[in-house]
Symmetry: C2
Subunit: 648 residues, 2 copies
């Protein structure tokens, strides 16, 4: 059986999920309109974006100075991409009007030869392609191109897409292996994947070839970024980070460890996986596999967040996963979701699906507030507000979600992921194979040999593990329907039309192959016990501590429920948990309680060290909430990894 798949088209999905529908609608009605206002610098007291301001300068509609970092249009690219995804699902003339307005501005800024980097157009085009390392020209093009592709697919309007193709063709003429061409490659990967999607749409091999060139050129000697630093006056910024930070120290096919900037690393992995799938490039896929293992087996937080170091927003080293100074950028967790799905398309293995789910429900979702209008860039697993406020080495950590950021890659990245969830829920192929990777209620269509099958999915997931699938089809159709068996479920039952079914399982996916017909009902019921998790003892930070989860959700303790000094709390040795779904708490969550202990601090004032006496503990009920929902009730402490009584 050919197990290679592609994601379900968004037009084939209508998500009505108990958990996610609220977020998706919030994205349409609140998050995207809010972000548009911010891109226009129209929200008082919010860090200005300058994105539209800069565009207006580039389009010659305004005089003034470029402001903000050199990659501000990338936020708009992602915003348009998300608007496109929204418009596939349902009309929204107001959003569409805003997008058209933005597109007009972008197109008005385009130069005669197609060039369209806003920073250089405003500040001096003599700088074209001279700062590949940190200039973000190709990164911005990548995001604009992805926005154009999404918008075109949703609306059929091709103005933006044509403009971006003109710019892409200029890039294709400029870069490449031919002797006369520029030998650089992007300091921030992103265009590679956009080129692959442009190839997918147009069938034009040039784009695929260029993507492959950019990927294979990285790390070739002499190192381009070193040459660039030597060629142009080295300044502090150019010297700050060298090729390692950009995954360009050695060729990507030889890389073993995730290194450097985490978002860049996973964006590169996405493109590497896509290319390996299209070209059946086993060497490249093997490199993807090694990087996957490096990330998820040695360098990933239990929340699916990655990139533990604030120094360069980067991967650090094996098992270095500090909780309170974690960088754990929202975009990096999003990138890991992207990477996981590409791996699933090639190799359906629940290792990938489990991690995709882990990142999505935890490290990604923690990036937004319940109101959809404030955001975390950094997602720590432990917060002590005093330390965050007073320790300059934790200044990247925020206690409360922010309205915007000077570099605001994360908010529109969340928007484009939430509006395209169906891409991650199902993948399928032309032989009819359908994989369900996530458990998200809605109506999904699958076309097998010309017959359309509709799957209606009902579930209260992640609050419980029961997933009901109702089938309707014009004719009975035989196809294999496979679903992921999550790592956290010790057992599960499957019934078809009320009768328990045996399901063969391979690499963590259960396969049901039968002739599906209207009226078939499939019921999957995953046991979803509370899990007390430990980290590999090589993670020094977590020794003697445990993390609590239920289903895909990692839980945490928050000061609002448990008081201050969370470091004094211990989960009981053999804890009992009770779970109650509270529809009015934090947008509707299952709150958990468990027995625990609190260490009594009976030290006299002024005593800093003394002879060890037996420690006094009092019983204490611990209250747990899902990690993603923390920091929605004001300033306070939070902990994912909690002491375990006694320890070890």
């Amino acid at each position: 059986m050919n197990r290679i798949t592609r994601p379900l088209e968004l037009s084939m999905a209508k998500i009505t999920d108990f958990f996610w529908a609220r977020y998706i609608e919030l994205t349409r009605t609140e998050m995207l309109p809010y972000q548009w206002e911010v891109l226009n610098d129209r929200i008082p007291q919010v860090t200005p974006s300058y994105c539209i301001h800069n565009l207006r300068l580039a389009a010659g509609l305004e005089k003034g100075e470029y402001q903000g970092p050199n990659y501000q249009e990338s936020d708009l690219g992602k915003w348009i991409e998300a608007v496109g995804y929204v418009l596939v699902a349902r009309p929204d003339p107001a959003l569409e009007k805003k997008a058209d307005e933005a597109i007009d501005l972008i197109c008005a800024a385009q130069q005669e030869d197609g060039y369209l980097n806003i920073y250089n157009i405003v500040t001096g085009q003599e700088k074209r392609w001279t700062n590949m390392k940190d200039g973000h020209e190709l990164y911005c093009l990548g995001h604009l191109l992805e926005g154009a592709l999404s918008y075109y697919k949703a609306t059929g309007k091709d103005t933006f897409l044509n403009a971006m193709i003109r710019y892409t063709d200029l890039v294709d003429k400029t870069f490449g292996p031919e002797p006369e061409k520029h030998k650089g490659y992007p300091g921030h990967e992103e265009i590679e994947s956009a080129l692959i999607r442009l190839h997918e749409l147009t069938g034009n091999e040039r784009y695929l070839k260029l993507a492959k060139h950019f990927i294979d050129q990285r790390g070739q000697e002499p190192l381009y970024f070193d040459e660039e630093i030597n060629r142009y006056a080295p300044d502090a910024q150019r010297l700050a980070f060298r090729s390692r930070q950009y995954q360009a120290e050695i060729p990507v096919r030889e890389q073993h460890d995730a290194r450097g900037h985490a978002v860049r690393q996973v964006y590169l992995c996405v493109a590497m996986a896509e290319l390996s799938k299209i070209l059946d490039d086993k060497e490249l896929f093997a490199a993807c596999g090694r990087l996957w293992e490096s990330i998820t087996e040695r360098r990933m937080y239990i929340t699916g967040s990655i990139g533990s170091s604030a120094h360069g927003e980067a991967f650090s080293f094996d098992y270095d996963l500090p909780n309170d100074s974690a960088y754990a950028e929202t975009c990096a967790a999003i990138g890991l979701v992207f990477f996981a799905r590409r791996m699933l398309e090639i190799s359906p293995d629940s290792r990938y699906g489990d991690t995709m789910e882990r990142a999505l429900y935890n490290g990604v979702l923690s990036g937004i507030a319940l109101d959809g209008k404030s955001f975390f860039y950094v997602n720590p697993l432990e917060v002590w507000p005093d330390a965050v406020e007073k320790d300059p080495f934790k200044s990247h950590v925020k206690i409360e979600r922010q309205k915007w950021f000077g570099t605001s890659c994360c908010p529109p990245n969340v928007a484009r992921l939430l509006t395209s969830l169906a891409h991650y829920t199902f993948t399928l192929n032309n032989e009819g194979l359908l994989f369900m990777h996530l458990f998200i209620g809605g109506t999904y269509k699958h076309n097998v040999g010309g017959t359309e099958i509709t799957l209606d999915i009902e579930t209260r997931y992640p609050w419980d593990g029961l997933i009901k699938v109702s089938v309707s089809a014009a004719l009975p159709v035989n196809f294999p329907f496979a679903f992921r068996v999550p790592h956290w479920s010790p057992k599960y039952t499957v019934t078809i039309n009320g009768k328990e079914a045996a399901v063969p399982r391979k690499n963590g996916y259960a396969y049901l192959t039968r002739s599906w017909k209207t009226g078939d009902t499939l019921s999957i019921n995953f046991d979803m016990p509370v899990m007390v998790n430990r980290a590999n003892p090589a993670v020094r930070e977590n020794l003697g501590k445990v993390a609590v989860s239920k289903g895909p959700l990692i839980y945490c303790l928050e000061e609002a429920d448990n008081g201050k000094n969370l470091h004094l709390l211990y989960l009981a040795e053999n804890p009992d948990f009770t779970t109650v779904f509270k529809p009015d708490t934090l947008g509707g969550i299952s709150v958990m309680s468990s027995n625990g202990k609190e260490l009594i601090n009976n030290w006299p004032k002024g005593s800093l060290y003394r002879k060890a006496e037996p420690v006094l503990c009092a019983d204490k009920t611990l209250t747990w909430i899902p990690y993603y929902a923390w920091a929605n009730r004001g300033r306070g402490e939070m902990r994912v990894w909690v002491n375990h009584f006694p320890c070890p």
Copy 2:
């Protein structure tokens, strides 16, 4: 009884201590000659000092560029101070010749009007007194003046002292409360204490007044450093730190918390305490008391190291005492020893003496290698070499002691402390009261009403708690002899001439008042059990961990004895310790063994998180060495705070 005292003159002491004599002789024969070579940039492969090079430029003996930071002559000031202390104890013509050579150079650089800042003389005197915040002019003067005072007292040669008095008089003419005078004060405190010592020698009140002015001027509105930044073009360096870093945000008499740069803070405290003693200034002494409590009750490592943050080499906030990223500068621990002795001179209380001892035997002594020729600037309480090498936020931590530093304040600071230990061992007053604060073998003279008493002290301290004092005196003399009863000793016995004596105790000092005569022998025997210590539970870093000490020495685990992965080791719940003195190990130390456990890491490859299973532990004998002796056997892990089994 008047309990106010002054330190014993160095000329009255001859240290022959089992523990310290080796260090003091090493300082004379190895450390000081080595440092002289480094100050002359004559040691290959060692970070150049440029100190003598810069002096030669300033003296017009060479052409070239000033190199290194703007405070390089301060190292030489401390070096000459130490040489002076050596020469009090015994002649050393080679060292004296080097010092004379340096002094000639310094004097040759002095300007017509007395000015003598090397950096400005070489790079432009228009900058005189324009960068009080970071220019270090008065700091350098302070150290040169202390060097001159020490050298004059040792040799009677007054060339250097006279030169420094001329410079000091220029400073006195320049700064002060009078309307026409400069309103600045030093960014790095040091001159205040030097001025007080110059007043002590000369009796000239001007110097005392100027010291008081500098102290009381700090933090007065408008804040001088803010004015300075505004007056001169603010550059990045000037803006990096504001008044708080320099203890100049509020007046010193209103300060409650140790703040900013730790060495600066304790040097300020030294001068505040000295001034409060001389002027009987109770308000100032109260401020000293508050700062003492802030430092030692909430912001001090168990090693007596202070200044936990690398950001500004500074105090951070209460109970923020990270072990692996500790800054804990050697100079700051030395400054705490200085501060403690000043407090003891005013108020004999074992709180001060205990802390002085704690810092001296641990956080200070860890600053030098056994060979006296390599040094720690930063003194972490936990080292994992992988993390130090790979985490840029730990780049200040070194795994092995260094031959020298770009800023190399610590090595000569250690030298001047080791060569003046008698100042910290005994303080006394004109009424005959003699305090023994430290237990250091040697011969000490005490003069009571014209009769000289000699105390011969024999001890193997800190390896055991027995201290024998033999008295000789021309006539029997009645005087109170007081000694500190260390906090770590649960009981002790005192015998005089073989008969147990009852000793009244006040504020942690035992007082023996009697007529002392030749042949009297006093024997003090402190029980010195192994102590298992805990930190206040507010120190989050140390929860569930204990530190082991014996007498004044904090112990640690080192990889050389215990293997890798020290984080997996647990001290047994009720441990038994055996102690063996090993004369050939690490310069002669008591090595301790205890029972413990090792957590077995039985996790399969690739498993980062999993359901908590009971943890497997194996018995493991732990081997402990004194903290000060770590890092003398190559690269490896080290831990002071060790897991305690079970915990809490």
